[in-house]
């Protein structure tokens, strides 16, 4: 994390569930701080967070198991444009403070201090 002062970063909790945690060192809960502004100087949003997670937190090379179509995160970091829309991979729910991200503006939602962002993979067993 390249946080300079506490003003520049936003502390949040990111959680993974339903098997997605296996892509993130098998840890379900991650406390982390992300930059308050993205590459373009705009407030960091969920799209930025997803890029950040792919680049920094995800150890598993199978980025396509996390982000849609494998077109976003398997490309080298510098190609990841802030303008690119991040879609959730089919079968993954993105939950912002315990609400479906579709209720909160999807990838355009601007991350607030203390937010809880939960990525859940659907289960099909029974």
């Amino acid at each position: 994390m390249s946080a300079a002062s506490t003003e520049d970063v936003v502390p949040i909790t990111v959680e993974f569930s339903g098997g997605l945690e296996m892509l993130f060192s098998n840890e379900r809960k991650h406390k982390l701080s992300i930059a308050a502004k993205d590459e373009s100087g705009l407030n960091s949003n969920v799209a930025f967070l997803v890029r950040y997670l792919c680049d920094n937190l995800m150890k598993d090379p199978r980025k396509d198991l996390f982000v849609l179509d494998g077109t976003v995160c398997v490309v080298p970091e510098h190609v990841l444009s802030p303008a690119l829309t991040i879609q959730r991979r089919p079968g993954i729910l993105v939950l912002i403070n315990d609400a479906d991200w579709e209720l909160e503006g999807e990838d355009k939602y601007e991350i607030q201090k203390g937010d809880n962002i939960l990525f859940v993979s659907t289960l099909h067993g029974g």
């Binding site: 729910l93 099909h124 029974g126």
Partner: protein, 319 residues
């Protein structure tokens, strides 16, 4: 119309007394349970406990559909089966246990896996559908058939130490009505990559995890039935347009469906349960919106290939 002085039989007051005296059920709720019918799709780790508590509560008719036979590896979690019934059709084994618990319920066995061709004809005989299956293909099929037949869907799933539960399509309004509950496709428009789908056989499953989810399915079903299923006729056009009850036919607030939510369970997390607010019906949902492409005809003709849609990586048994 003759009003019966004792609307239930004497033995029913005895058997259901402990739930009858609760305001959430009461005599009205018990009569609704008695006159209702519930279809449990899948007689495995979810279906066994779900059916047990539905039978216990006095649901009038319970249908069970499953094409599998009992295997020894089922028994750590599929509590209606038994060691001496290994190799028996699961549906028959389950009904034997259920009948012993409550012989006053009518049980209907379907010795088959659910297919698109037969789904609607079966679903139309029931009031609530439980998805207790274990593949993405069956989950999309069941949801589509629930939307088309206007049935509430109580859907659960489990894998390893995690479980999930949603009540979908409730109230079960026709496609295109925004006040209807979201369907499975509203929440998951596209199936997950086949490579990411793990079955209980491959990933493992802890018995009480899937058991908890199955019991909770029974609970949600009992809540829906006892409260009275909201019908299209409960909503008049004013309500549908403005989202407000009109003076003429105010929907009973006690009958209003709960807002859509997803219950997450994770046996080794703290806290283990978490409730998530879900979206409402999606304006462009391919199943429940005015722009639906999932029609009765398409479903019945078999032109919707759910296994193909979900991109099977290996031969998949759709149930």
């Amino acid at each position: 119309k003759v009003v019966k002085l004792w609307p239930l039989d004497k033995h029913e007051y005895r058997r259901y007394g402990r739930q009858l005296i609760m305001p959430e059920i009461g005599l009205t709720g018990q009569l609704r349970l008695k006159s209702s019918s519930v279809l449990v799709v899948g007689a495995g780790g979810l279906g066994c406990p779900a059916a047990a508590y539905l039978a216990g509560a006095g649901v009038g008719m319970i249908g069970l559909i499953d094409g599998d036979t009992v295997e020894e590896s089922n028994l750590h979690r599929q509590i209606l089966h038994s060691t001496e019934r290994v190799a028996m059709p699961k549906v028959d084994s389950a009904i034997a246990s259920l009948r012993s618990l409550n012989p006053t319920v009518k049980y209907i066995p379907y010795h088959t896996r659910l297919t698109a061709e037969i789904a609607l004809d079966i679903f139309e005989k029931y009031d609530v559908i439980l998805d207790c299956t274990d593949t993405p293909a069956s989950r999309y099929l069941i949801s589509d058939a629930c939307v088309l037949s206007q049935k509430p869907l109580v859907s659960a799933s489990a894998l390893r130490t995690d479980g999930q539960l949603m009540v979908l399509n409730n109230p079960p309004l026709p496609p295109g009505h925004a006040q209807g509950g979201p369907c499975y496709r509203c929440v998951f428009p596209k199936p997950p990559p086949a490579a990411s789908v793990v079955s209980c056989g491959d990933g493992g499953i802890l018995g009480p995890v899937v058991g908890t989810m199955g019991v909770l399915q029974a609970l949600e079903t009992i809540k829906i039935i006892a409260k009275g299923i909201q019908r299209y006729s409960d909503f008049d056009s004013t309500y549908l347009q403005k989202g407000l009850p009109s003076g003429n036919s105010v929907p009973d607030p006690h009958r209003l469906s709960e807002p859509p939510s997803l219950l997450l369970f994770s046996a080794f997390s703290n806290p283990p349960f978490r409730s998530i607010r879900l979206r409402t019906r999606k304006a462009k949902c391919s199943a429940c919106s005015a722009q639906t492409t999932v029609t009765r005809e398409a479903l019945k003709s078999g032109s919707l290939d759910y296994v193909q849609f979900c991109g099977a990586v290996s031969p998949v048994d759709a149930l």
